[in-house]
């Protein structure tokens, strides 16, 4: 029983932990792309990678202050959005999907390659860039705190506080934007691009603005991730993470301001619960080693997410909060 309570406490912590923050930020960006504009961005993780490495490289390799690093990260995500958008936003939806997924894989492979070592630290990544960030905390970050039934380091709390502040800020921004004429044009593009074009709106430019804003939000997600974990490693930015963010978004409800936030929290609760639960079952011999061994548990989450994504799309594409009429299901 006490073991069960531990697992539960761990899962509750995951509701608000750095992973939930990271995927909430990725999801808020994706929501703007996929939910409101109908863009199929399958390379969201690339924006996060550039945001995270923007901070990491600026601070630990170039010795710049943290705030300049944040600026570098934002500019890098912005430039990536421009580069990806310019050629593909005029083409059919699935071209953007293929190009973005390819770009995400290219960036990860380049960042982890040996020739890139002097800049990115290759597979070992970068670390030791977080001091400036933790110096900003108004409380002691070196000690641990008990909170929500589990132990937190001061650094974790600070990273999560800043992260949730960003999530709130961007969610408010999206909420306001979607009530503005600008947001209504985006939704109209999602529903019928040609109709919007016939009204004299520059569809291409609106799509580009959406891609940039959503990408920069994901860039902030990447920054929070590397600051919270204390290291920037290319394998934190696996392609599969984009689809975890999609799962969070679709679970919560696409085209709803709070959809990605709620979805990310629930997703991480489920993932932490299944991870810790399976590990406990294996430890106690309830699942024999031949069927599933401890190192395999980390892979189970992707199987859960993958099957969950399929089931949601087939049976409840609007997720928890969404409205079925607002979901993009067809390419245009």
């Amino acid at each position: 029983m006490s073991e069960f309570l531990d697992i539960l406490a761990l899962s509750v912590k995951s509701l608000v932990s750095q992973s939930a923050v990271f995927f909430a930020l990725m999801g808020v960006g994706l929501n703007l792309h996929f939910g409101y504009t109908g863009l199929l961005n399958f390379g969201q993780i690339a924006f996060a990678l550039l945001g995270g490495y923007g901070v990491a490289i600026s601070v630990s390799m170039w010795g710049l202050p943290l705030m300049v690093g944040v600026l570098v990260g934002v500019i890098a995500s912005l430039v990536l959005a421009l580069l990806l958008g310019l050629p593909t936003l005029r083409l059919r939806a699935d071209y953007l999907a293929i190009v973005t997924i390819a770009a995400a894989e290219i960036l990860r492979l380049v960042f982890r390659s040996t020739p890139a070592t002097p800049v990115t630290g290759a597979t070992r990544g970068l670390s030791g860039f977080g001091d400036g960030f933790y110096a900003l905390a108004p409380f002691e970050t070196q000690r641990t705190y008990d909170f929500l039934g589990s132990t937190w380091t001061g650094r974790e709390i600070w990273a999560c506080l800043v992260g949730w502040a960003l999530v709130t800020l961007f969610s408010l921004l999206i909420w306001q934007l979607m009530r503005s004429p600008w947001g209504r044009v985006l939704k109209a593009i999602r529903e019928d691009e040609d109709a919007v074009r016939s009204l004299g709106k520059n569809v291409y430019s609106y799509k580009m603005q959406s891609l940039i804003l959503g990408g920069v939000i994901a860039g902030f997600g990447g920054m929070i991730l590397v600051l919270a974990t204390g290291s920037a490693n290319p394998d934190q930015f696996q392609n599969a993470n984009t689809f975890l963010a999609y799962a969070a978004l679709i679970l919560g409800g696409t085209a709803r301001v709070l959809g990605p936030v709620v979805g990310s929290m629930i997703l991480w609760f489920i993932i932490a619960f299944s991870d810790a639960g399976l590990a406990a079952l294996i430890r106690n011999g309830l699942i024999p080693d031949e069927i599933l061994s401890a190192p395999d548990v980390a892979n189970i989450r992707f199987i859960l997410v993958g099957s969950g994504l399929m089931i949601l799309l087939v049976f409840r594409p609007q997720g928890i909060l969404g409205d079925r009429r607002e979901i993009v299901l067809d390419a245009h």
Binding site: V110, I300, I303, G306
Partner: protein, 428 residues
């Protein structure tokens, strides 16, 4: 607009990062020796395939405060060994001036972290010029043939992907997993059950065809009948790909493994190129299979029906073609071919759980280059991508060669989104 692709951006990082480094093949690796239980040791072995072991190269080991810990020269087996005062971070430097004529080192310094009681073997990438790095024209015929082999195997995998796109409109992100399933089935039959690889491949193709059939019967067929949108199907295929890929990781394990048969073959020389027998057979098998596929598409009734459905689904349905039956057949053929492609890839690059995803993006590159949805376009595009990937190792590091293929994909979409053989109408 043309010049501003993310590719160029990535290439720019690459160029910066590449300075001071170069592609090199003659990897100087330490020979296997049992780790001694007591002190910490650094062991360096310098050798290349042409020069053999390299004697008399001065090596200096310094600790992290810059103090010299050990110094010496490699012996007649090219070896140098230093006992260390304790675990920690050390810098090993070789004196490049001592290297024989024609041998160059990509880097003369390696920083290694030595754990307690460990033997650390820093590897210096030495090149003896036999592989003509940089603009070495001598390597081009060899790379062309290797590229042809690689391109043909991408083509075998991609024909199904392209035909499925053509007949159903589905961009199937789970196609890579069909490739991996084929290779892994063959691996288990070959390594665990001892079935000869050729028989194992035949069985894997049957299994692959079955998995393709199952895909259509259990998932895509019903979704089509429900009238699911293309974006919904795309995301569903991503979910399927993710679930299958990590399931394969659990079943097969995270490491890549070779087949039991045809291991360690020596390359035979054919004029300017050298090929192992398995590479040669891989090319031959791919060519025969692709010609058979082309004949099927061109001559048989079902092949003609496939092309008709890919061209215009409603019109073919109206002229009495059973569209659902044709699509099911496409899935079976696609699955079997993907399995064969997987085995061929496993033969040259070892079998791994994520090989499907690696190949998937190159398949997309191939079929986009050739023209989405056209069978012959997929063939032509894949071969070009394969050759391009291999030739790109002339200028970029070997580990980045797939990046070249992906960059090509992005460039094609900028320059000619409908591909070489596609029609403008499909771009939409």
């Amino acid at each position: 607009m043309r010049a501003r692709t993310p590719g160029l951006w990535a290439a720019r990082i690459l160029v910066v990062a590449l300075s001071g480094f170069a592609v090199s093949l003659g990897l100087a690796m330490a020979t296997q020796a049992p780790a001694s239980a007591e002190g910490e040791i650094i062991r360096v072995t310098l050798a290349t395939s042409l020069s053999g072991p390299i004697e008399g190269v001065e090596i200096t080991v310094t600790d992290d405060s810059g103090d010299e810990v050990a110094q010496g020269e490699t012996d007649d087996t090219g070896r140098f060994e230093a006992d260390l005062p304790g675990p920690g971070q050390y810098t090993v430097e070789i004196n490049a001036d001592d290297l024989p004529e024609g041998v160059t080192a990509a880097a003369t310094e390696r920083v290694v972290t030595v754990a307690e009681g460990a033997v650390q073997r820093p590897a210096f990438a030495l090149s003896d010029g036999s592989t003509g790095q940089g603009g070495g024209a001598g390597r081009i015929p060899q790379l062309l043939v290797e590229g042809l082999r690689f391109g043909l195997l991408i083509a075998i995998c991609a024909v199904g992907l392209s035909l499925i796109f053509g007949t159903t409109g589905l961009t199937n992100f789970a196609h890579g997993e069909l490739v991996a399933i084929g290779a892994i089935v063959a691996w288990f039959l070959n390594v665990s059950a001892g079935v000869p690889l050729i028989a194992a491949t035949a069985i894997a193709m049957v299994v692959g065809g079955f998995v393709g059939w199952l895909n259509d019967v259990a998932l895509w067929g019903p979704l089509r009948r429900r009238g699911s949108g293309l974006v919904a199907m795309l995301v569903i295929s991503i979910g399927l790909s993710l679930a299958l890929r990590y399931l394969l990781n659990i079943i097969f394990g995270g490491r890549s493994q070779p087949f039991a048969d045809y291991r360690g073959q020596r390359a035979n020389d054919y004029g300017p190129i050298s090929l192992t027998d398995k590479d040669l057979f891989s090319i031959a098998i791919s060519l025969v299979v692709l010609v058979l596929v082309a004949l099927m598409l061109q001559r048989t009734k079902i092949g003609k029906a496939m092309r008709a459905v890919a061209d215009n689904r409603d019109l073919s349905a109206a002229s009495g073609i059973n569209v659902d039956r044709v699509i099911r057949f496409v899935w079976i053929v696609g699955g079997a071919l993907a399995a064969l492609g997987g085995v061929l890839f496993g033969l040259s690059d070892e079998v791994s759980w994520d090989m499907g995803f690696k190949l998937l993006l190159l398949m997309f590159a191939g079929i986009t280059l050739g023209g989405l949805g056209t069978a012959y376009g997929a063939l032509l595009g894949s071969i070009i991508v394969g050759v391009f990937v291999q030739l790109s190792t002339l200028v970029i590091a070997d580990e980045l060669k797939y990046v070249g293929g992906l960059l090509l994909l992005i460039v094609i979409l900028v320059v000619r989104p409908q591909g070489l053989l596609g029609s403008r109408a499909r771009v939409g």
